[in-house]
Symmetry: C2
Subunit: 196 residues, 2 copies
């Protein structure tokens, strides 16, 4: 291995910052979401459920969160106990278990989404839109390479393309979500069963 002191310092600084930036942002998020009775993890689960549309299966939720189904399953157990999420079986196929957001979960999310958005807008306020686009491009490059490194046996390019599309959709859905006012209306809208 070639060891070039200057280049190594740069790489180490960047490695360190990738972790530390996320760590400190996570600590802020914990502060934000605890106000609404949610951990950051629970917030992530609920907002992915909301953006993908629930009811949905654990496997789809895990894919949306980019996590192992096993660890998501344990998280869901805790959220069922906390009354934020409920399980139900499909009428057509009784073996398939679906997850849905409860009224309690809906109410917490309803308040947490605008708070989360406000927080992230504040955190990213020092960056211009151009800075943001640059940061997205550079992080995508690192993430792409890391996904390749993991050798998950998936088509990384296709996966990332789908994600960009679903992210654009998520933005729209969240804005819609914030704009509507009654939790009742949201629950009606969230009930659609995915047919895929």
């Amino acid at each position: 291995m070639t060891v070039n002191s200057k280049s190594v310092s740069l790489v180490l600084r960047l490695w360190f910052l990738l972790h530390r930036t996320r760590d400190v942002v996570r600590r802020c998020e914990d502060q934000v979401f605890v106000e609404y009775g949610l951990t950051t993890e629970q917030y992530a689960v609920l907002s992915v459920m909301k953006s993908l549309g629930s009811p949905l299966r654990v496997i789809d939720l895990a894919r949306g969160l980019e996590r192992e189904p096993n660890s998501v399953s344990m998280m869901v157990d805790r959220m069922v106990k906390a009354g934020l999420v409920r399980r139900s079986r499909d009428r057509g196929d009784r073996r398939t278990v679906y997850l849905d957001i409860t009224n309690k979960g809906e109410n917490a999310l309803k308040l947490a989404v605008p708070a989360g958005l406000e927080f992230v807008q504040e955190i990213l306020s020092p960056l211009s839109d151009e800075d943001r686009r640059t940061l997205i491009t550079l992080l995508e490059m690192v993430r792409y390479k890391a996904l390749e490194y993991l050798k998950l046996g998936v088509n990384v390019e296709e996966m990332m393309r789908n994600e960009i599309t679903s992210q654009a959709g998520l933005g729209k859905r969240l804005i819609q979500y914030i704009s509507t006012s009654t939790p009742e209306a949201k629950r009606q809208g969230g009930k659609k069963r995915k047919t895929t």
Copy 2:
């Protein structure tokens, strides 16, 4: 709150990427370090101990890791059980407990450091040095803002200035560490007691 759809999408995409990039990098690291019998967390503890110079106190280790002393203390308990770290008392002041790396910890770290460096160089290989500097600058801006948001009662600017200095030192020390070959020589060098 003003909701501008285009700007919100950009902010959400960036938020998402900050988390997901670090998550996938962490999964890669887990793969890298498990080969040397270490979790990524244990690797982080050992390399911070190495870079700050051990023996050192839990409070100093926690500061180096930017984590709560309580959670670091629990991590250290597990590492003591795993034989990677040992506790000792200061001869002058018996109340103060110091942590030191064991031979087993030294040997694991000795192999893991070059592997970690090789990994991070590969992951960051799509980025030019200029890209890396840009990414560092942008992440620093986000991190600075997040640290301010946390209101830790510390002087954020000073903290970050110290960090850059210690990071530069860390780079030098790691390169030195890789270049030296005998664990024996390293142990001798690592024994110096910090007097601050």
